[in-house]
């Protein structure tokens, strides 16, 4: 069967599966809608968390980032997994014991303050929308390449699917859909990785393949060969980074703490039956995530080797078919600077900026690039990092069904995360803003309706951001993690671990951490992008890592303010005592 037919078949079948699950597990109460009734098995929840967490960025972009950054990409690998240790040890079991629906609910109750609750809602909505806008770019890329439709139509299809299972099913629908999506996405990720690893090293397990010898008879290990090849082309060594140690340190820490503070991840631990299940569930989530995250470095390295092998010093006329496929989408470009018809791939930019194509084709048949060439670089090839995973099966010449599988997997990854984010936005609007703050008299039925309306509105906004992506989207992904690290994490952490932390301290801490981080990132990413170089950074910390400083400011301000203001009331003392032990009221009754 033709590859395109297979793609329609795989994607169509997976969509039918998700919608079927959503109808089967329709939510009928607010508890179903917010936390799936609280009865999800920890292993199932771990799998759903993994799908929720692994977005289009993990599935599509991460291996590409690793391929082009080498060691520097370790910040993502450690940062996006190490946060689960913090979650399992410091947050998840206590939040589950607290037993409410949302993160702002915890902050509002623990700090006995509607203001604190509203501040938390603002942080949450800001973090979630920043994140969701990125997902929509992922959906757009995958749809336009694989379904051969216009990006606008693609985003609308994606929104319609998410609408069905997020609005009807709520958390209950999302949980079981995400389990299916995890299975699709991990299978789609592993199959090409096994193929590539086997082709390049003879060892089918990518985690071992990356540490094995290349089977080209040279006796070199994969990483050695990569260092050599890149060195010849003028790149830095793959296993050395170019970022400063302090920056690597801070970005890793900001991503870890940010992960532990992301509301759509935390809320998943509210759905299991017991506090001890929340810990187990965090462990399972990390196991399922690690499967992809330990494979990604291998995929990245193999993809880079393969790319150089097939493209560099190949004449354009003999270029493989995938090269032209992606060239027609504008994600690859060839500017024949020396006019020899052969593609030279070297370090440096081929031309300035993103490619702009002119009318007609060049002497070898390539799309004409009208950007100004960069003269001090011999590089003639532009490649967008995001294509590495999607193009991998084609680069490795794998069968059509593998390509179709990857298309379905990429969509599963983007849609599952989008759904999880929409849900936390709608729960905090309906539960924290309406029910708990502005309309306390609302009935459960009314609240459920409000949650569905909020989810619908959030989908419309997300769809708009996907169809008309504002220029700032790509610039501000650092916001989501930095703000989560600087605002929500310290407030939750201190809420559990210090009884002395009070309303005034927590609010002052959240506001100052948030304001500092926001202004720092906005200054370098939006207002003065030209000034965004290491020399201008505070302590040499890039905007991606600045959440760590914001977090320290939050802690310092909160502790200082709490010292000079009143202790929290006795009822909060009792609440914290109660949070800290897994067994609840049962103990008191028995004795």
């Amino acid at each position: 069967m033709e590859t395109q037919t297979l793609i329609y078949l795989f994607v169509g079948a997976s969509f039918a599966l998700y919608i079927g699950i959503a109808i089967w597990s329709r939510a009928s109460s607010t508890s179903d809608f917010y936390v799936a009734g609280g009865g999800v098995n920890p292993v199932v929840n771990g799998m759903a968390t993994a799908a929720d967490w692994m977005s289009a960025a993990s599935f599509i972009s991460m291996a590409g980032l690793i391929a082009f950054l080498g060691y520097d990409a370790s910040v993502y690998l450690m940062g996006w997994t190490g946060g689960y240790v913090l979650l399992a040890l410091l947050l998840a079991p206590y939040l589950r014991k607290f037993g409410q629906f949302t993160v702002p609910a915890f902050i509002g109750t623990r700090y006995y303050s509607k203001t604190a609750r509203v501040v938390a809602v603002i942080c949450l909505i800001f973090i979630s929308f920043t994140y969701i806008a990125g997902q929509m770019r992922g959906v757009g890329i995958v749809f336009s390449r694989f379904l051969d439709v216009d990006i606008t139509l693609g985003v609308i299809i994606g929104m319609a699917i998410v609408f069905v299972y997020a609005v009807l099913g709520g958390m209950k629908g999302i949980t079981y859909t995400q389990v299916a999506q995890y299975c699709v996405l991990i299978f789609a990720y592993m199959v090409p990785a096994f193929f590539l690893s086997f082709m390049i090293t003879g060892n089918p397990v990518p985690q071992f393949g990356l540490g094995s010898q290349v089977n080209d008879g040279s006796g070199l290990y994969v990483l050695e060969k990569l260092n050599l090849v890149l060195g010849d082309l003028g790149f830095g060594a793959y296993t050395d980074g170019s970022k400063s140690t302090i920056d690597v340190f801070c970005i890793t820490l900001a991503l870890m703490v940010g992960t532990a503070g992301l509301p759509h991840v935390i809320v998943r631990f509210f759905t299991v039956p017991k506090a001890s299940d929340a810990r187990k569930s965090a462990g399972w989530a990390l196991v399922f995530i690690a499967l992809l995250y330990t494979t990604a470095p291998a995929v990245g390295a193999f993809a880079r080797l393969n790319f150089i092998d097939t493209v560099n010093e190949t004449s354009y006329v003999e270029a493989p078919a995938w090269f032209r496929n992606w060239e027609s989408n504008g994600l690859i470009a060839f500017q024949d600077k020396n006019g020899d018809g052969v593609m030279q791939y070297r370090a440096g930019d081929p031309f300035s900026g993103a490619p702009e194509f002119g009318e007609g084709s060049g002497p070898s048949g390539e799309r004409i690039v009208i950007n100004d060439p960069v003269t001090d670089s011999a590089n003639e090839v532009y490649v967008d990092r995001d294509i590495m995973v999607l193009a991998n099966p084609e680069i490795g010449n794998l069968p059509g069904w593998v390509i179709a599988l990857v298309a379905a997997g990429g969509l599963a990854a983007a849609l599952s995360t989008a759904a999880g984010l929409l849900l936390v936005i709608s729960s905090s609007v309906s539960h924290d803003l309406l029910k708990s703050t502005f309309r306390p008299g609302i009935s459960e039925k009314g609240e459920l309706l409000a949650a569905r309306i909020a989810a619908t509105a959030a989908i419309v906004v997300a769809g708009y951001l996907g169809i008309y992506p504002p220029g700032w989207v790509a610039q501000v992904v650092a916001f989501a993690f930095g703000l989560a690290a600087a605002s929500l994490f310290p407030a939750i952490f201190m809420g559990i671990f210090t009884k002395r932390m009070n309303r005034e301290g927590a609010i002052a801490g959240m506001v100052s951490g948030l304001a500092f981080t926001f202004l720092y990132i906005a200054y370098f990413k939006l207002w003065q992008p030209d000034a965004n170089v290491a020399a201008n950074w505070l302590f040499g910390i890039s905007p991606e890592g600045i959440g760590v400083v914001g977090m320290l400011i939050n802690f310092a301000v909160a502790i200082a303010v709490a010292k000079v203001t009143e202790r929290p009331p006795a009822v909060v003392d009792a609440l914290v005592e109660n949070l800290r032990v897994p067994r609840g009221a049962g103990v008191a009754q028995r004795h």
């Binding site: 370790s74 997994t81 040890l89 071992f208 540490g211 870890m256 690690a290 330990t294």
Partner: protein, 102 residues
Amino acid sequence: MAENETGAAGTGGASAYWRANLRLLGGLLVVWFAVSFGAGILFRDFLDRFSIGGYPLGFWFAQQGSIYLFILLIVIYNWRIHRIERRYQLDDDDVDPPGPPG
């Protein structure tokens, strides 16, 4: 160790449980820091002089090893904290319904 506190309940048991929990957390977080920030970042250059198969050791910690060890840390935490909870009779195994005697 804390044998004499076995079976203690109420506030005394809960606060002893909390102290034991904090000790366990502290130990595990030291390892968490050592394998990622220590081995993967701060001492990477030194560790890269050794290798596992084709992996320079520091690079291995940064892109493979720390992730495996993170999982191990959560497993160890679950196992140890469960024992501590049983010791202070604070686990939530039999909340609903009450567990069988003995």
